[in-house]
């Protein structure tokens, strides 16, 4: 699933995204970098808001995002700190309820993913640590059959071991080359190591978009992007 933004302008309350154009490429991890308030979360919400009104075009594999919105939403997973699940209920209960809203949600796959991540489905979501909650959301997204994973500052505050696990899961997801990962981060070392494409954002605008292969200038340790 490949997403292309073409000159998208979107206003939500007082926040404005201006003339946004970039691609989320299939089979790769695209990083969204920007300071707090740059508009990263607004950009995610734009994709997830079924009633969003915007100028410009958002294309999914060439077709309009808004056309067949339900199918696109079906294949989109959002992983963030936001409490978009029934937090007082267990992971299993959440999956049992929400599975019906998706076409092709696999409860068995969800259980399998949770087992692989060493997470108990019997634990209430509010009792999970931040990292565990994020992993649960990823497991949910995989069980849902999502092709687009939107991660909003998911790795912030994760310990190194957990982060390794998390990225390994993302790489596994991308192995079949049909999925795309779009994640916002402000951690430079993460960007250098794990990200395939980098989109920089500032004050509601896209500042740059390029492939991420760094060449450090030998001797002075400075990063220079090609």
């Amino acid at each position: 699933m490949e997403i292309e933004f073409q000159n998208v302008t979107y206003r939500k309350k007082r926040f404005v995204l201006q003339d946004i154009s970039f691609k989320i490429r299939q089979g790769y991890i695209t990083a969204l970098i920007g300071k707090n308030g740059a508009g990263k979360t607004t950009l995610f919400h734009l994709l997830l808001d079924k009633t969003a009104k915007y100028e410009g075009k958002i294309l999914v594999d060439g077709a309009d995002w808004k056309q067949d919105l339900a199918a696109h939403m079906n294949q989109t997973a959002f992983v963030s700190d936001e409490q978009r699940y029934f937090m007082d209920r267990t992971a299993r209960e959440n999956a049992s309820m929400l599975q019906w809203l998706f076409e092709g949600f696999s409860l068995s796959r969800f259980q399998e993913n949770m087992d692989n991540m060493n997470l108990s489905v019997q634990k209430k979501l509010c009792e999970l640590s931040r990292g565990e909650y994020l992993k649960y959301q990823l497991a949910f997204g995989i069980a849902q059959g999502a092709k687009l994973y939107l991660l909003d500052e998911a790795t912030a505050g994760m310990d190194p071991v957990f982060k390794r696990d998390f990225f390994k899961m993302l790489h596994t997801l991308l192995l079949d080359e049909h999925c795309a990962v779009f994640m916002s981060t402000h951690l430079q070392d993460e960007v250098d190591k794990h990200m395939d494409y980098i989109v920089r954002m500032d004050a509601g605008r896209i500042v740059s978009e390029h492939a991420a292969v760094c060449r450090k200038e030998i001797g002075n340790g400075k990063d220079q992007k090609i």
Partner: protein
């Protein structure tokens, strides 16, 4: 729509206590409200009876809203959250969710309305005052209760 209904089935299982309380409370209120239907509307020439009948309608409307509440708002921790908010990023629209809830409301109101209608006509017959007025009254009563439910679904 069918997907939302299946979701609601599981929702009722998961939040069984919330639904039980809502149904119990709502049911009681509806019963109390419907008691007023045991007075033929023709007796409404007496002021007290009019107010009791209106009160009965209001109580029943409240009962209906209580019944519908767990479909709209659920307790989480020490506050309540809107189901629309919880399902905001799911592949179903607010309109679709509302439509399904209106469907439940319609079913409930048809049952209540039918019961109230028959109650009213029964007493009207016994009172020898059966006529278009008693029929209309029961109909208007049911519509008012239904309207209150609709507004509740849209506002909550």
């Amino acid at each position: 729509m069918e997907r939302i209904r299946k979701f609601d089935e599981e929702l009722k299982n998961t939040f069984a206590d919330a639904f039980f309380i809502a149904r119990l409370g709502g049911g009681l209120l509806c019963c109390i409200g419907m008691l007023m239907m045991l007075f033929p509307v023709q007796m409404a020439s007496e002021r007290k009876i009019i107010w009791s009948m209106l009160l009965g309608c209001a109580i029943c409307a409240n009962g209906v809203c209580q019944w519908m509440l767990p479909y709209l708002r659920l307790r989480e921790g020490d506050k309540t959250v809107s189901i629309y908010k919880k399902l905001e990023f799911m592949p179903v629209t607010k309109a679709q969710i509302r439509k399904v809830r209106c469907g439940y409301l319609n079913r409930l109101c048809i049952c209540l309305g039918t019961a109230a209608f028959f109650m009213q006509q029964e007493v009207a017959l016994l009172n020898h005052s059966f006529g278009i007025v008693s029929v209309l009254f029961a109909a208007v009563w049911a519509v008012l209760v239904w309207l209150a439910g609709c507004i509740f679904i849209y506002v909550r």
